[in-house]
């Protein structure tokens, strides 16, 4: 089952109403990783029961009593895995099935090169599969704006797949409950002087994830969240 190589690694998976794909995501993750923290953000569609079914395969379920947002769910996961003294690395992994477990493995191994954070990038190297023109334009814009505001140089600023050292996880302390946490993570990378690198990852843009993913309009919400703190 889980490789002993990753006994010091926790995968943090924020979940909100992903019953349709969660089983497959957890199936793939548990085949490689032995410690997975699913943070259920008060789902109403049975996601919780699915995650509970994986308890014997190393999935720990942490349940928000009320819906708080993805940023809050990530931070709850960070707080949970920091309670494990053996935790040395964390991978954040979206629950909608858009990430590849192989990519997660590569990101996690890359930490050994001395990085505090390794960020997944869909614009580095290979092209992301079937990314619409409008969505690509918005993402590019988000990348440009975010790089400007956090003073980093990255090719993809809004990718849910990341690997972090324990030091980086302890430095996060995310306060943006909603979707602006992606920028907040980068802000922490800069303010805590965390060494970082990007690694090319593939995104599976299924019909499901496209329908679930952040709409164009929602990027306006993200922008306002960041400007008006």
């Amino acid at each position: 089952m889980a490789a002993p190589e990753f006994d010091d690694l926790w995968v943090v998976v924020p979940v909100y109403n992903e019953a349709a794909v969660l089983r497959q995501v957890l199936d793939e993750l548990t085949a490689v990783f032995g410690h997975i923290c699913v943070v259920d953000d008060a789902s109403t569609d049975g996601s919780r029961a699915i995650a509970r079914g994986f308890a014997a395969r190393g999935v720990r379920l942490v349940k928000h009593p009320v819906n708080l947002g993805q940023g809050a769910a990530l931070q709850t996961g960070f707080a949970y895995v920091l309670a494990d003294p053996l935790m040395a690395r964390v991978v954040t992994f979206d629950s909608d099935g858009q990430h590849m477990v192989d990519d997660a493995v590569r990101l996690a191994r890359r930490l050994a090169d001395g990085f505090d954070v390794v960020l997944g990038s869909r614009f580095l190297g290979r092209r992301a599969v079937a990314l619409g023109r409008a969505k690509r334009a918005v993402l590019r814009l988000a990348v440009a704006y975010t790089n400007f505001s956090v003073r980093l140089k990255l090719t993809d600023t809004h990718n849910g797949l990341r690997a972090m050292s324990r030091r980086a996880v302890a430095a996060m302390n995310l306060t943006q409950e909603g979707m602006a946490h992606a920028t907040e993570i980068l802000e922490r990378i800069r303010s805590a002087h965390l060494s970082h690198a990007e690694e090319a990852v593939e995104i599976k843009y299924s019909e499901y994830s496209k329908a679930k993913g952040q709409s164009l309009l929602n990027s306006i919400n993200v922008l306002v969240d960041l400007l008006v703190k």
């Binding site: 509970r52 709850t76 949970y80 895995v81 920091l82 409950e177």
Partner: protein, 135 residues
């Protein structure tokens, strides 16, 4: 005349309710503002021409316009303070909910000796030792 009595009673009632609220030092400023508001409101009711006089002093024209402009400013400052307060309340809810989530969560690792999963299944709703972490 009846409308004047009604309006004055309303202003005094609102002022009295607000002034009794508890808070920190910032409250003092708000109370001063409230007293000023109440005085101006009563004066305006008894002497409506005063409002027009004040409006003309600052080149607004009619007293009703001055009232409207003041109202707009007050409304937006209310929206702004409300926004800040809501954000603070949301932060508190998040901290509280996170605490609950961590208290209810199973321990991150099975204790040596096995049987951890079964134990965790049973303790899904009760307290466990894993409530550490920050926040």
């Amino acid at each position: 005349m009846l409308i004047k009595i009604l309006l004055i009673a309303a202003v005094l009632a609102v002022g009295a309710t607000l002034i009794r609220g508890h808070g920190a030092r910032r409250q003092a400023l708000r109370r001063l503002g409230l007293i000023l508001f109440a005085v101006l409101a009563v004066v305006s009711i008894l002497e409506p021409d005063w409002l027009t006089w004040a409006a003309q002093k600052i080149n607004v024209g009619r007293g009703a316009d001055l009232l409207l402009y003041t109202l707009i400013v007050v409304f937006f400052s209310y929206v702004a303070t409300r926004h800040v307060r809501d954000a603070r309340t949301q932060d508190k809810i998040t901290a509280l909910a996170r605490r609950v989530a961590l208290i209810e969560a199973p321990p991150p690792r099975d204790p040596p000796g096995g049987g951890g999963v079964a134990a965790e299944e049973r303790s899904a709703g009760e307290r466990s030792a894993s409530s550490g972490g920050d926040s």
